[in-house]
Symmetry: C2
Subunit: 508 residues, 2 copies
Amino acid sequence: MSQKHGKAKRGIPAKEDFNEWYPFIVEAAELVDKRYPIKGMDVWRPYGWKAMRMIDNLTHAEMERTEHEEVNFPLLIPESLLEKENRLVALLKKAREEGVDPSELRLDEDEAGFKKEVYWVRHAGENELDIPMFLRPTSETAMYTMFPLWIRSHADLPLKTYQVVNTFRYETKQTRSFIRVREIHFFEAHTAHADEECATKQIEEDLEIVRNIMHQLCLPVMISKRPVWDTFPGAWYTIAIDVCMPNGRTLQVASVHHYRDQWAKAFDIKYEDENAEQQFCHQTTYGMSERLLGALVGMHGDDQGLIMPPAVAPIQVVIIPVLHTEGKEEVLTHVDEVAATLRTAGLRVKVDSRDIRAAKKYFDWEIKGVPLRLEIGRRDIENGTVFAARRTGGKEPLPVADVVDQVRAQLDNIAKILREKAASHVENRIKKFPKIGWKADGSMVFNELKEGTIYEMPFDGSDAQAEEIEKFSGFNILGDSVENFEQEIPCVVTGKPTKRRVYVGRTY
Amino acid sequence: MSQKHGKAKRGIPAKEDFNEWYPFIVEAAELVDKRYPIKGMDVWRPYGWKAMRMIDNLTHAEMERTEHEEVNFPLLIPESLLEKENRLVALLKKAREEGVDPSELRLDEDEAGFKKEVYWVRHAGENELDIPMFLRPTSETAMYTMFPLWIRSHADLPLKTYQVVNTFRYETKQTRSFIRVREIHFFEAHTAHADEECATKQIEEDLEIVRNIMHQLCLPVMISKRPVWDTFPGAWYTIAIDVCMPNGRTLQVASVHHYRDQWAKAFDIKYEDENAEQQFCHQTTYGMSERLLGALVGMHGDDQGLIMPPAVAPIQVVIIPVLHTEGKEEVLTHVDEVAATLRTAGLRVKVDSRDIRAAKKYFDWEIKGVPLRLEIGRRDIENGTVFAARRTGGKEPLPVADVVDQVRAQLDNIAKILREKAASHVENRIKKFPKIGWKADGSMVFNELKEGTIYEMPFDGSDAQAEEIEKFSGFNILGDSVENFEQEIPCVVTGKPTKRRVYVGRTY
């Protein structure tokens, strides 16, 4: 398909050269403009913003289905709340290191050391502010300051809230559109529950939501429980959702955290239970970001540009009138009728009647990844057909009489093909973990590990051994798959048969 | 209706005491929570946020109708761009003072003095940033930095973009939910055109959009061209849209600016015309904010709480099952059926089957301003009716057989009543401007001006005379009404008959 290590046709880099293709395509398809004068802060162009809003709409629909309520918190957070979080994180770190329950520990105020990579607001107008503030990286501290005011009794639980907002991270690494940016379009759900078990059920619901959304996006994902050293600070455990990008690197697109009552204790989030006793809440969070769009771009695109999954395509169908001098008006009128019929059925349709060559039109809509193109000329009118070209390949005439059903079937088919292609890409990338070699000094040797591959590793060793694998291999332990594997395979370290599977790979 | 200067029933301050009623009601109706630890930054609660999003949806629909495209710009703006704006504003000020065309002037870099009331970001993590940045108060500078990259030829015009974002203003005055806040939920449209006339047509389209939205919100507005000293810095002229609040103060809820080519010259926004010559664009902006919600609250609310206009009510219909021990299941099933029928028709319906007293339910939904309440009990099922109570007053049984049409008619009727009530409120507030008295030293005396009144002043004097009226009266000149008045009335200053009408009042 593509010329190896060169430009594919029409100036687009070959997708094989992913590190060239990706930054090129996000601008060429007019998703974002990177020329804004702050690095890592792109301008969302109309087509990209529409795509992001379509993805948000999937999320809103799932939130409504599961009875989460949308809130909107201030962007700015007073420094004092960050200190509260810092103390909590330091306490949990200490508890982990000492192998004790966090509730057995107390922390001095000055033990809270680390400064987050946040943007600070310390001045306004000509004044220095009394209380320094920072731009939210996420909203735990802001929200958990308010939760105690909203939660009084068990009748107020569960509290299920979410918001879709801009968040900020002072990235020092190289930035990359959607994948590593400094202003992040972010979704965050925050819930509070009566006990650990109720919170655990929320985690299960979150994973169900993840699966529903990923199905619509045609994205196969790896869902795994992160190792303890990669758990979100403040969380009891973290389940992360990774997508395998074309270059074999994994991209975390979502994560779910079980907080138990750790934050509740730090922020005093209590309720009166049915016996009139005060109890701490158990909490969870669930986050996703614009990385979902980055994953779509990377997973589905090809040498011609993007391919948008029909569920979130800003334009699902582009109609191109095929015009000759004779019968121009007739064709244009017919095209408008077909477009109106499709729009009435709820489909997102664009008519491209620009006075330019057809090849240029094809190029424009292919690079933008419009899933279905319909061409309509005089002959099609005579034949009672429209001529359909799928962005995933294949062309055929469709009867215009039931054009809505026909188009819907085509879009379903395109989604199916995207899912199959993506699944096969991931299957090809995931390999069995090769044998570990051992040196005399006990260090590990990984001669057979290959860049661009993700490994499924039968593992039943200790955390310390997992950390050694990370250290000696240079690969990351993504975590324990949440899928149930029936087969017992010997652990790569201990040799003991195990059903546990750990994903290992290179991450973004 | 209300007890004068006291609490009305059920703990709600009387609306007559507007300065007590307003802050009470925005929290009691659960629109926002003001207990967030930064003053002037409220937390949007689910009900308030839903209402705001409903208002946004009206805006989105109008933007789509008029072919504006939605973009999303970074929140942070580098300081250097502000300096560009400052120089432009200083230049325009000078041109106005000297009475010359701005293009005849050139400005030295150091003449740009004033610092805006913005929040500054000068630090991130542990670092001081090389380039200081500020949080957008509006996005002219951010956008007009990109426009030259997007506009090449006349074929790229008009460029019509908009965004709905959070903006920031370092308010030093007393804050008030929705009306004067530090983080502002904001809509801003920015357009670029080939010439002044095209830009002027955009202004007309903007005012048509304003009228459509205000009709849905049941808000009568005063639309006037602001006096020159109250024109947005950088604008050729500003048209502002004011709502008359219950206390007679006017609240600016939207504004439209014609920039001519002033910003284009400062930011080098040019296009190649049909004769292959470079021309500067002419630009406009149109802004609205969460003040629209503040205006709704103030205009329509009463001693019982909010009244939400049906077009933006988060809940349009609340259904309350009337339950007795017998036939409970039957009633609940019937209620669910009615709710499903209404929802299928696109209506926003809530069923309140909480196990509490009916009076408490009435209170909850009245304070939140749900326009229509339906009660359904066994007798209603027997009679084939539902019992409807309008939030604007009046109750009656409706036939359940065509409940969708019946409910729609009720909601239309409620909107009509809100419009009439609001119009009559404004009519009562707007008076003819009283006679000006003159002292021997030539200063003006305004003995008859009354607080809480807005005046329509026939005026044909100079800007200097208008400024004198502001100075001596303590009232604000809102500006020249854009309505066409046929009748000629003598100007309050010169005595010359004039068709011009200037609004004068106290502003928020």
